[in-house]
């Protein structure tokens, strides 16, 4: 499919929160990537996101212990690890769903003890959930349109009476949603209730809802879980295409090591809440601790699953 960057027109700076704007929109990051080969973002680029010394526990369970992580603009950054390693907790800390006991999150240079969830979308961060989190009672189109809710300026009275900016705003948001649906090949199910879709399509619709806001940072918590091999490679292609088309930085949690190796620029490995390795797929693949903790189990059957 032809992928043109800025297909939706340039983002208005005003949709971002002031501190994002103050940082300056990362022009380099927004440049067209075209069909560039998979390449890590420049080594010296300032990190878009940095976790510093994150610790989190639930009662006696240590979910995260002293985790550092840096994510460069434009890269696909995978986080892998066995069940219960703390991957989802990490994404929940980044998106402010959890508040870390220790450490802080640096987003575009601004430092947060807890990221303000309510303003996350305005900060240019979108995410999907490990367990489906679509709005079941809304159509796919409405689900995706709701990804733009943070930009809505009209109020309920204007919407009821159909006056003011309502209609234009609605048309514009629908138009954007339709483009994303087309991009992810969901147009056929556009008017179906989200809850009635098969699992794989629901996952994809959730990606659409996150993408419609053209986020600068996209957090994906196991977007391919429970999919067949075919669906997985399809999804992987969508994730890569989304990164290229929207110049989005992606943090990706995925169990399927084969998929991760082919898709990501850098991989961090968690085990029992600690980061045990961090590097390029090549480096991680050859790391003895990773092989012991994780890959050893899966390498036999899954590494061959290419994408």
């Amino acid at each position: 499919m032809p992928i043109s960057n800025h297909a939706f027109g340039a983002i208005e700076a005003s949709v971002y929160a002031p501190e994002v704007f103050a940082q300056g929109l990362p022009a380099a990051q927004r440049q067209a990537h075209g069909d560039r080969p998979r390449q890590p973002a420049a080594e010296d680029a300032a990190p878009l996101l940095a976790l510093e010394g994150i610790g989190l526990s639930f009662g006696g369970v240590v979910a995260l212990a002293d985790v550092d992580l840096s994510v460069r603009p434009g890269e696909i950054r995978a986080i892998i690890g066995p069940n219960g390693a703390g991957k989802s907790s990490l994404i929940n800390v980044i998106s402010g769903v959890y508040r870390a006991d220790r450490g802080h999150v640096r987003l575009y240079g601004a430092r947060y003890a807890q990221v303000p969830t309510q303003r996350l979308a305005r900060l240019g961060v979108a995410r999907t959930f490990q367990n489906l989190a679509l709005f079941k009672g809304l159509s796919v189109l409405d689900n995706v349109t709701s990804g733009l809710a943070y930009r809505t300026r009209s109020n309920f009275a204007g919407q009821i009476l159909g006056i003011g900016r309502t209609r234009r705003e609605q048309q514009e948001q629908r138009g954007r949603a339709d483009q994303v649906l087309e991009f992810l090949h969901l147009t056929d199910v556009r008017d179906r209730l989200a809850g009635t879709l098969p699992y794989g399509l629901q996952k994809r619709a959730e990606l659409a809802r996150a993408l419609v806001a053209e986020p600068r940072l996209l957090l994906l918590d196991e977007p391919m879980a429970g999919m067949t091999a075919g669906e997985k490679s399809e999804m992987a292609a969508y994730v890569r295409a989304a990164r290229d088309r929207f110049a989005t930085t992606v943090v990706l949690i995925e169990h399927d090591v084969g998929v991760v190796m082919g898709l990501s620029d850098r991989i961090a490995v968690l085990d029992y809440g600690r980061k045990i390795a961090d590097g390029t797929p090549e480096e991680v693949r050859n790391d003895q601790r990773v092989i012991d903790a994780y890959l050893g189990v899966a390498s036999g059957n899954e590494e061959g699953a290419d994408i």
């Binding site: 709005f135 409405d142 930009r151």
Partner: protein, 346 residues
């Protein structure tokens, strides 16, 4: 997709607004010609008031997912506010007094909606009981609300708009019908708007809603406000057009439950459902008493009637919850689809 499209084609060929429009025309033109006062007084007026209350509660519970057991309190607030506005402000037009009383109910709704910011489901439902008991207590305790009348029961003022009196059963029916049609239309617009979709979003997954930037707290309170506004106006209709008296007794917990049952039986998150549910709730006791009287004669006194009503209604609700959680609306749509299929194949 195409299979679905052909399945629905006879219905889809007609514009969506046609059926409601025909129904409204029928209600305005035909019913006043053929109806007798029993139909208006005993069936249509309570039906209209309860339907509107159901629409209001459905916005809060069906769409926004916030369970409330305080509906009757908001009806009472609306009714007493309208009474006091027209009593105490000389020459206030009826329409203005209705809107103001809706706003009073909305304000009370916001106050009692505050717990929803922390509580969910069952706990929230219990906390809305506070509204129910507090409002009823305040209205009984402070006789100022009923203008110091000895009995606490007061006559509702006459219904007149711009010099035109809505007299008699038909007049009051047309008045109630007009209010219900206008508010239902606005409610329909609301639930299909971005705000209505935000309601559904916080109902279905409030964490995801917060993440994508829907202002969850504000949206919940807005749902309480709008819902209470509509229920408050339903209270005005109940008192001014149906009972023609204003008294706290009719707005008790039983009434709150009745409205909740209306939307459960009719169908959650459906405007039509409120009307279907209300028609069942209103007509069903009448049918039961006729039937009971016919079958059992004198044995079927008011005590037996009351008891059998509760039993049958309770059984009905359980049946619906198990067999048709989507309510009469779903049943209705299924029957209609069958019919249109049968129509096609013949």
């Amino acid at each position: 997709m195409s299979a679905i499209a052909t399945q629905l084609s006879p219905a889809a060929a007609l514009p969506k607004w046609l059926a409601p429009l025909l129904l409204i025309a029928f209600a305005y033109v035909v019913i006043p010609l053929i109806g007798n006062s029993y139909l208006f007084e005993a069936i249509l007026l309570p039906f209209l008031a309860l339907s509107l209350a159901g629409v209001g509660l459905n916005i809060l519970t069906g769409y926004a997912g916030q369970v409330s057991l305080g509906s009757a309190a908001f009806m009472a607030a609306g009714a007493f506010a309208a009474y006091n506005f027209s009593l105490r402000i000389e020459g206030l037009p009826l329409v203005a007094s209705i809107i103001l009383s809706g706003l009073v109910a909305a304000a009370i709704g916001i106050v009692f909606g505050l717990p929803s910011l922390r509580l969910k489901g069952f706990y929230l439902a219990v906390s809305t009981l506070a509204a129910q008991f507090f409002v009823q207590w305040a209205l009984t305790k402070f006789s100022w609300f009923s203008n110091d009348s000895a009995s606490g029961v007061i006559d509702a003022p006459k219904l007149s708009i711009a010099g035109f009196e809505f007299d008699g059963a038909v007049g009051r029916y047309l008045f109630a019908l007009t209010v219900v049609v206008v508010l239902t239309f606005l409610a329909h617009r609301l639930v299909t708007s971005q705000t209505g979709r935000n309601f559904i979003a916080i109902r279905d997954n409030d964490t995801a809603a917060r993440i994508i930037g829907i202002p969850v707290l504000k949206t919940k309170l807005l749902a309480f406000a709008i819902s209470s506004f509509i229920i408050g106006v339903a209270g005005v209709i109940w008192a001014f057009a149906y009972l023609r008296t204003v008294e706290p007794a009719g707005f008790d917990l039983d009434r709150s439950f009745q409205i909740l049952f209306i939307i459960i039986i009719g169908g959650l998150a459906s405007i039509r459902g409120a009307f279907l549910g209300a028609s069942l709730i209103v007509v069903f006791p009448l049918v039961l008493s006729r039937l009971g009287g016919f079958l059992l004669g004198d044995l079927f006194d008011s005590g037996v009637l009351d008891m059998s009503q509760r039993i049958v209604l309770g059984a009905l609700i359980i049946l619906f919850l198990i067999l048709e959680p989507d309510g009469l609306v779903a049943l209705w749509d299924r029957v209609r689809r069958r019919l249109s299929l049968a129509w096609q194949s013949s």
